[in-house]
């Protein structure tokens, strides 16, 4: 039979047991943990293609900052040139990823072939810088069989070089062609928006190197961030939206020819 004495005794015992088994929940601690996992920070990138002149100083800076062998034909970021002629053809090239800029009007067709385009034949022409989109739904993370690539709480996708087995699934999986094998480490390599710089208050090397302000980085969770304001209030586009990857590089002046 349940007496008052027994009931109180058992309740006290049960509570003591519960406190020992599970740490009692402290709301303050929960809040702190939420802030620590980056709920106030989500990096985004903004590219203004009207401002880009194709000088390639961003590519030069990126390769040296991130120790990508300078003469190897791989790069974390690159600049594409699009030349649309009056006959409706789109010509696009990016010689050496535009590491040395575009110092000829000839379009690089690959395999040592070039095509010269006359000034009067051009309908429109422009430059588009490319870099990792740090997708919200990163397909490269989804396909990694060993869990070596991951998204940080502030939205940047990183690769653990010690854990990567070099299978190349992520290189195939990225619809933007951002990933490649590092020629020295033989592991998957990608742009990480200079994570070492942005996590200590600096800007990525390409952003600092751009003399024209074509590249900017911001925090989409801060409504007062100038980059956030542009993304929220102006007309911006993303690349390959139909893939459902939720890319986080936003472009001003994107054209349908850009793939």
């Amino acid at each position: 039979m349940i007496t008052r004495r027994n009931f109180l005794k058992n309740t006290a015992l049960g509570l003591a047991g519960a406190a020992a088994a599970f740490e009692l929940i402290d709301p303050k601690k929960l809040m702190a943990e939420e802030a620590k996992d980056g709920s106030k920070l989500r990096w985004v990138f903004l590219v203004d293609t009207y401002k880009c002149v194709g000088c390639g100083l961003c590519v030069k800076a990126c390769k040296q900052e991130n120790e990508i062998p300078y003469d190897a034909n791989v790069t974390r970021t690159w600049v594409e040139r699009y030349v649309l002629t009056k006959d409706g053809v789109t010509h696009a090239d990016t010689p050496k990823g535009a590491r040395d800029g575009f110092t000829t009007s000839k379009i690089d067709l690959g395999q040592g072939k070039f095509k010269d385009i006359k000034k009067e034949d051009i309908d429109k022409a422009f430059f588009v810088p490319k870099l990792c989109n740090q997708c919200d739904n990163p397909p490269c993370v989804q396909v990694c069989p060993v869990g070596a690539t991951y998204a940080t709480p502030d939205g940047v996708v990183l690769v653990d070089r010690t854990w990567c087995i070099g299978c190349g699934y992520c290189i195939m999986g990225c619809p933007y062609g951002v990933r490649f094998f590092h020629p020295v480490y033989h592991t998957a390599e990608k742009c990480n928006w200079c994570y070492h710089r942005i996590s200590q208050g600096m800007k990525p090397a390409c952003v600092d190197a751009c003399p024209f302000g074509a590249r900017r980085i911001g925090n989409i969770k801060d409504p007062n961030d100038p980059v956030t304001k542009v993304i929220m209030n102006e007309r911006v586009g993303v690349l390959k939206e139909e893939y459902g990857t939720k890319p986080q590089v936003f472009y001003v002046g994107l054209s349908k020819e850009v793939k």
Partner: protein
Amino acid sequence: MKNHVFRPLIVFLGIVGLILLARVFLVPKDFGVHERGYMYGWYRKDNEQFWKDFKVKYQGREYCSGCHPANYDVIKKTPHKNIECENCHGPAVDHPEAPPKLALDKSREQCLRCHYPLPYPTSGRSKIRGVDPDTHNPDIECSMCHNPHNPMEGLR
């Protein structure tokens, strides 16, 4: 049930137990998934620090201005004001300790990155004054005549 059915079952359970035990030791402590599950949730928390500790090479113009204030001030008043020192002088890294001398790029190609004329509409490139490198003093460096820190001061 008969004994000969149970014996292989025990062996099988033993193997499963061994695999689970090996998993406890072999999977790194920081290996986890976010609340998003296994699809996008891979996480290697310890590796974040590796990327945060990566060496910064491009220090920015404020770093340069500490010792070279004259050059820092003069370029600020010119059309070249937005070009970072290190774009031509090379990454500072730990200069002046290491490297003691930077690799200055004053090639014609460096100037032609912007000053090769490409008449592209809808791009800022068409608004930059350019020269034809094949006819404009092809054998000498641009800086022989033009001061890159102050291109408007006239030829030297």
